[in-house]
Amino acid sequence: MANAVLGYKQSTFPTKLVIISLIGLLIFAVLPFVLGTFQLSFLSKLMLFGTLAVSLDLVWGFTGILSFAHGVFFTLGGYASAYYLKLNLSAAANTYGVDIPDFMVWNGLEVLPWFIAPLKYFPIALLATVAVPALFAYIIGYFIFRSKVSGVYITIITLAIASALTTFFVSQQAYTGGTNGITDVSSLSFFGSEIPPIGLYFIILAYAAFVLALSWWLTQSNFGLVLRSINENEKRIAFLGYDVAQYKIFIWTLSAAMAGMAGGLFVPLNRFISPVYLAVAFGTQVVIWVAIGGRGTLIGPFIAAILLGQFQNYADRVTQDWQLIVGILLLVVVLFIPNGLMSLLPERFSLANLSKPTRISPRAPSEQKS
């Protein structure tokens, strides 16, 4: 009774959301047994892209920071993971009979650089996959969010970061493999046995579910309320005693860590990482997934990444000029469905509403207060 009076039944379990999530999870759990091998790996990849889109949704959809640099965080995680897999190639597979990677031999390196060497060990590599992008994001975040810079200028900074880092990685060929990136890596093993594609699929599914659940949990709390307020008017909320920069840096760093881990899982699947994922074009791709899926909906960007990937795959069967179709689609969505695909769902199915606690209209508390 008391809860009803006060409006929010917050203690109530979000039943509808849990049921829908479980159904979704079940579908994704059954899919690999129905799909062919191509779709299995394709879907694994798209789920990682979807996870990346969710991580951007946290900073853009909720907090209002539009970033073209999320590909950068993804790729940094990817490189950490790629060094691990590269350094763990079996000795027989290393064609130069030395314990440094082939691309370093080609570039005249004789000793494994000290900052790459520790990545041979799994725990360090795993930590680096998350920590390197997170640390990089933290430094950038600290630098730009504790200043007057806002809005489109932050976006331009992320554009410059993606562009500069792409150039940098390409030019440091001895350490990064240049344009090729790191190729010819070993596959991921678990206690000596190679993880099969379906195993990788379930690891990725688990990670995607984890990211979605964590993001949902964060955004439905007061923390999420603060993020949305920052989005709407960041100046005002400072006068309520919130350290806006701290919040921004936190979500930015967390989002980068999520993106980094997605990149880390991407390498065993894709078997290479390269600066192509650092570039502005890929960063824009992530932005498009979020825009098309619907900002601030979490699941929307995830689904959009998967659907757009599939769409592109089938459009390529129709015409070689498939990216023209993708461009037109993007224009149509922006002009006619500005709030993204999720806004097409009827209100009561909207996941944004499902994720909110049930609401009951209040009665005048003067009657109820005891």
């Binding site: 810079v149 809005g151 562009s163 030019s171 023209l324 689609l329 993007l330 922006v334």
Partner: protein, 324 residues
């Protein structure tokens, strides 16, 4: 009113570069002077490619990611005019302007107009537009590189300090000088249009207070369309002029996008003259750092410097500090 953080950073880089340079040879100051002079060539291209964006973003606040594609369209107009009518490159410039301005007007009418006040949607729409424009141009002209001829009277070099052997340690090509001349002329023309004509006053009225301008009888829709088309037309001229020096292909515009943004942001968007400062700083520092180190590192360093600059002066170098 130079930004000191940037200049001091550059000077520290010089020290760094001096250390990095091979000790035996040292730095040839004549070669450096030559490089600095040729850096003007880079400045010209930056100025030219950034000018259109200074209008569409600086004045109208439209985040136009299809800016590079308008440059590309201008280059293709020049190609068509040369290929079909055997026109001299100089003659094609008005056509490049009109052609891209027309397309710009159509784009404003069908897309941009619906998105005023929604910068993020504009950004996405113009990205979509850039994909579409590239795709359409590729359909029409195929993906092959196209050949645009520079006028023969613009070949050759302006040289200084020519020695007896006939070689000149300091020289800059006439075509580069021509690019600068075009860029400066367009800048002057644009400044005249904006600050010296009633059209310019109307544009400034609209950008400062749209509602008030409407009340005063300004046709804001026409002004919006005209201004956007003009910005696109400038990009088209840039495409026409650089087509003879670089390559003409559907993705060519992508190369200029990030640079144009950096130029506009560095100079500051409030004053058109800021873009001259932005191009000069970025172009010259790029040229000089590249000469001491190499091209990719120069790019990384200059981009990093621009990031630092935005951090401390988001309003650019040439903007008066305003009340928050």
């Amino acid at each position: 009113m130079l930004d000191f953080s940037l200049t001091s950073m550059l000077s520290s880089l010089f020290l760094l570069a001096e250390e990095a340079a091979p000790a035996a040879e040292g730095i040839s100051w004549i070669a450096l002077l030559n490089q600095a002079l040729n850096g003007i060539g880079i400045v010209g291209i930056l100025l030219l490619t950034g000018l259109g964006l200074a209008i569409t973003f600086g004045v109208m606040r439209i985040i136009n990611l299809a800016h590079g594609e308008f440059i590309m369209l201008g280059a293709y107009v020049t190609f068509v005019m040369q290929d079909f009518f055997k026109m001299d490159l100089l003659m094609t410039i008005p056509f490049a302007f009109i052609g891209t301005a027309l397309i710009g007007a159509i784009v404003e009418l069908t897309i941009i107009r619906r998105l005023y006040g929604r910068p993020l949607e504009t950004l996405l729409a113009t990205w979509g537009l850039s994909i579409v424009l590239q795709g359409v141009v590729k359909l029409i002209f195929t993906a092959e590189l196209k050949y645009v001829r520079a006028p023969s009277y613009l070949s050759g070099n302006l040289s200084f300090l020519t020695n007896e052997a006939g070689t000149s340690p300091i020289a800059i090509s006439y075509y580069r000088l021509f690019i600068i001349a075009v860029a400066l002329a367009l800048l002057a023309l644009t400044m005249f249009l904006f600050y010296g004509t009633s059209w310019g006053r109307q544009i400034r009225a609209v950008t400062q207070n749209r509602e008030m301008a409407k009340c005063l009888g300004v046709n804001t829709k026409l002004i919006d369309m005209g201004t956007f088309a003009y910005g696109c037309g400038l990009a088209g001229v840039a495409g026409a002029v650089i087509s003879a020096l670089k390559t003409v292909a559907p993705p060519m515009g992508q190369d200029y996008l990030v640079d144009a943004w950096m130029v506009v942001v560095t100079g500051g968007v409030d004053k058109l003259i800021g873009i001259l400062a932005g191009s000069f700083l970025i172009g010259e520092s790029n040229a000089i750092i590249a000469f001491m180190l190499n091209d990719p590192l120069a790019r990384v360093i200059v981009l990093a410097a621009v990031i630092v600059l935005i951090r401390y002066r988001p309003e650019g170098l040439f903007t008066v500090q305003k009340r928050a």
